[in-house]
């Protein structure tokens, strides 16, 4: 159904008129010009479209936009602060935890969600939490290392 919705994206309230069954992914990309979340499978099985909804990782491709009205939505574009990368972004950069990079934004958002819940995850916990994310280039070992590095960076940033 077409209706007026308020979306809070990266701290900014946006009023939109749209079909409320549309996927959050398509609204972020096509209506709001935020391309960090990617389409990979459309069934929530690859994680490329992951964003945070009230701090919790969600597959935006299977999330109807009407269900997240008024909730706090964070995309990769909302992670930087004062021109500085978020520690998770910094860690992915330092570990070079990507090849083609198509899964990276989703991985970063998934990792942000994990570290919010568990600031010091073990490698096994990282693998379990991120298991729904695919990296077809196979950089999984590096991603685990990047999340561990991000965990250390976050501890340092928030003593």
């Amino acid at each position: 159904m077409r209706r007026q919705l308020e979306l809070v994206v990266n701290g900014e309230a946006r009023r939109l008129e749209l079909e409320d069954q549309r996927s959050l992914l398509s609204v972020l990309r096509d209506d709001l010009g935020l391309y960090g979340a990617k389409y990979g499978c459309g069934e929530g099985h690859c994680g490329a479209c992951t964003v945070l909804v009230d701090g919790v990782p969600r597959r935006s491709c299977t999330t109807q936009v009407g269900t997240v009205a008024g909730k706090e939505i964070t995309t990769v574009e909302g992670l930087e602060h004062d021109g500085k990368l978020h520690p998770v972004q910094q860690a992915f950069l330092e570990e070079e935890a990507f090849q083609c990079g198509y899964c990276t934004c989703g991985m970063i958002m998934g990792a942000c969600g994990l570290l919010r819940r568990n600031p010091r995850p073990t490698a096994a916990q990282i693998r379990t939490f991120l298991d729904g994310h695919l990296c077809r280039c196979g950089t999984y070992q590096r991603i685990v290392a990047a999340v561990q590095r991000a965990s250390r960076l976050l501890q340092g940033a928030q003593p």
């Binding site: 398509s26 990617k38 574009e77 970063i108």
Partner: protein
């Protein structure tokens, strides 16, 4: 005739025509033969005139650009070529142009390093323009592991030639001998009095065109300062911030979103279609052109709704089924097709000695068949394109490994000349050999033409699985003979359908015959990372393991007994040593080993697996891969490639298998098609052998070939079940562990 045209020699169109017919998409074996040809595309006069600063356009003589292409598909001499060119602007920034594309293999960074090394300019001041048919020199495509051995040297030569030009200009300006000068950090330095002048001041807006002299001095590998070092991916910041624009992120003013009506099965034909309901929707354009039916609409949602409103009636044709796949591949094979015999491998004859006689003389004869399933590339970014028509000219953004090939496909489709079509390839969400074609580009362009506005088309995951092409399934039959002392004396190998890469054995066998047989393939098939080297290495290395068991020899010892190739021996020994081969495995676990060579690089992998046949569970615990590809260009990115290839290879090794019934892929989703995930990843160790004395070979493909047989052999070692099919945990495993 301008100076530039004189330099270019004969008309590029004529040269292109001589190469016609080579870039046939479906012909897997042609891809193997095609190699990496580079010749001039068309005049880029506009570009040259528009650019300020110094333009150095370099003609690379064929003799030095690359070794002559192999195979019967090339004849006559290679045309004159522009392999690469460079532009130095007024601020001292360098732009280099290459027709290669970035699909995650890090060619962008590798080429920046090549320029930085020879031009002696900091990496940060170099920009690579890749895969834009209007700006870049022609390139056949990004495949075949050709960028490192072919494009990197061309880029280096181009950069070195520009450096030499700048040294000449400085010597002239200062009236000193060239010997007194050196190039460093974007400046020419007078070694005697310490005077310095930035490159851009020397160039002073001139336009310079040079043919690279054959003897342009290149930095020897033992003195590399940038090549061989772990330079970080140059556009990594864009990736972690989400700012990089893949094709599916390209947005144009007034752009519409496209969807295409797909048949219910592979060979179904459109009988009739009702488009009125779709057409009556606001802002929707419906295109019907033969069997092609598509829509373009203001939003992706509108496009989906419009597509759903179309009613189509399909004519059902006899459709392929995977029921008797391997039997059918053998039955339909063109046996003894001489064109494909004896050519396999690199410099190693397919046939020698007397196989029949040596089999009679052998102490042990083993005959076995191996199967390799169809698998999908499943790049995380599915096919996508954005097409725009302006004044009869077509521009398409699309993720393809063959920008020039897709440009020509588009030109043919729409009756244009190639220079009326521009293909731009944004760095792409991977390809693995799966994006050689321009389906999405053509579809988007058809819709955009009808709509009179730009159209974006992004394939769904299901479309990508159903309508892209696959790595060919194959049946491989091997007959071998060994003496009791462990010497291989006979080797006969037939590959049905999957391909001939790495079909020849790297072991020393005096009597051998290998043959590739083409079959009637039920599915559309094409290139896949490492081509058939994965299938052929799986069959051979599994067979070698079986022979070792029969001989009661250690599989490493048996291989070394029959191996004289020093590079393959070196990686095998390195992997075995790092793995700690020879120690007993824990209960329920087993060790396996495999090695192979392809495209000038060498790989050996040891795997440790844990098997529980009761629970039908297999877990790969640990893998060690040793890899050697000549002089290492970037150790960190090489490590990333080797590790990634191993992980990708695990999918084909254990689970990946395209299933199809009545022309429909039955597992066309990530929830049904099992690819490697976090939980599957073993502990991985990569050992890199750096051979500074050898030219650099590509590394994106070969590291994938040894993991499957290493894991299969380890499963046998752990539980005594011999698996001869990829995926290992498919029907054969289920049968072996049931009941």
């Amino acid at each position: 005739m301008t100076d530039r045209e004189r330099d270019l020699g004969q008309a590029p169109e004529v040269e292109a025509a001589q190469w016609g017919g080579v870039w046939e998409v479906e012909r897997y074996e042609l891809w193997e033969a095609a190699g990496d040809a580079v010749f001039s595309g068309w005049s880029r006069r506009e570009f040259l005139q528009a650019a300020g600063g110094v333009v150095v356009c370099l003609l690379v003589r064929p003799a030095v650009a690359q070794p002559p292409p192999r195979g019967r598909f090339f004849s006559g001499s290679a045309p004159r070529q522009i392999g690469a060119w460079l532009h130095l602007d007024e601020k001292g920034n360098v732009t280099a142009y290459s027709g290669k594309v970035e699909v995650g293999q890090n060619v962008r960074t590798m080429l920046v390093q090549a320029v930085a090394e020879e031009l002696r300019v900091p990496v940060e001041r170099i920009t690579m323009v890749l895969g834009d048919t209007q700006q870049c020199p022609f390139d056949a495509g990004t495949f075949g592991s050709r960028s490192a051995p072919s494009m990197v040297p061309q880029m280096r030569r181009a950069a070195a030639a520009l450096r030499e030009v700048l040294l000449d200009l400085a010597a002239e300006r200062w009236q000193v001998s060239r010997d007194a000068l050196a190039a460093e950090q974007g400046e020419i330095l007078h070694k005697g009095d310490g005077r310095r002048i930035p490159y851009q001041e020397l160039a002073g807006g001139q336009r310079i065109m040079r043919i690279i002299p054959d003897d342009v001095p290149l930095q020897p590998p033992d003195r590399w300062q940038v090549q061989g070092t772990a330079v970080k991916k140059v556009n990594a910041l864009q990736i972690v911030t989400g700012k990089h624009r893949y094709t599916s992120d390209v947005q144009l003013p007034g752009m519409l979103y496209g969807k295409v009506l797909r048949p219910p099965a592979l060979r179904a034909r459109l009988r009739s279609v009702e488009i009125r309901h779709a057409e009556s929707r606001e802002g929707v354009v419906v295109v019907r052109d033969g069997d092609f039916v598509g829509v373009a609409a203001p939003t992706a949602w509108d496009a989906e709704q419009a597509l759903a409103a179309i009613e189509a009636d399909w004519e059902v044709a006899p459709e392929p089924d995977d029921h008797n796949l391997y039997e059918d591949l053998k039955r339909s094979a063109v046996s003894g097709d001489a064109r494909f015999s004896g050519r396999a491998g690199f410099g190693r004859s397919g046939a020698a000695g007397d196989v029949e006689r040596s089999l009679r003389e052998a102490d042990i004869v083993l005959e076995q068949a191996y199967r390799v399933a169809y698998i999908a590339h499943a790049p995380l970014e599915p096919r996508a394109a954005v097409a725009q028509w302006e004044d009869g000219r077509l521009t398409v953004w699309t993720g393809t490994q063959r920008p020039f090939g897709v440009r020509d496909e588009l030109a043919r489709q729409f009756g244009l000349s190639p220079d009326q079509v521009r293909v731009i390839v944004p760095d792409t969400g991977s390809g693995y050999g799966g994006k050689h074609t321009g389906e999405a580009a053509i579809e988007a362009a058809r819709l955009a033409r009808a709509a009179g506005r730009p159209v974006k088309l992004v394939w769904t995951r299901e479309e990508e699985f159903q309508w892209a092409y696959f790595r060919p399934a194959g049946l491989i039959e091997i007959r071998s003979g060994v003496r009791r002392d462990g010497r291989l004396i006979a080797w006969e190998c037939h590959n049905y359908n999957s391909g001939q890469s790495a079909l020849a054995t790297p072991y020393d066998v005096p009597n051998r015959r290998v043959e590739f047989h083409r079959s009637d393939a039920p599915l559309r098939q094409g290139s896949y990372r490492a081509l058939a080297a994965t299938a052929n290495t799986f069959a051979r290395e599994t067979h070698m393991d079986e022979l070792a068991v029969k001989l009661q020899l250690d599989p490493v010892e048996f291989r070394l007994k029959n191996l004289t190739d020093p590079r393959l021996t070196a990686v095998l020994k390195a992997a075995v040593e790092a793995f700690g081969w020879g120690k007993p495995a824990q209960n329920g676990r087993g060790f396996g080993v495999a090695c192979g060579t392809e495209k000038g690089s060498y790989v050996a992998t040891c795997a440790e697996v844990e098997v529980d046949p009761e629970e039908k569970r297999v877990r790969v615990v640990r893998a060690v891969t040793a890899f050697e590809c000549g002089a290492i260009l970037n150790p960190d990115q090489l490590r990333n490639q080797v590790e990634g290839a191993l992980v990708m290879g695990l999918g084909g090794a254990l689970w990946e298998e395209i299933r199809f019934q009545q022309g429909k892929i039955t597992n066309a989703r990530f929830s049904a098609y099992r690819v490697p995930r976090f939980r599957d990843i073993p502990s991985i160790e990569v050992v890199l052998l750096d051979r500074k004395d050898l030219p650099s070979a590509g590394a994106g493909e070969t590291p994938i070939i040894a993991i499957a047989p290493a894991v299969g052999n380890a499963i046998y070692a752990a539980c005594g079940i011999r698996l001869r099919s990829m995926p290992l945990l498919g029907d054969e495993w289920k049968a072996a562990t049931s009941g």
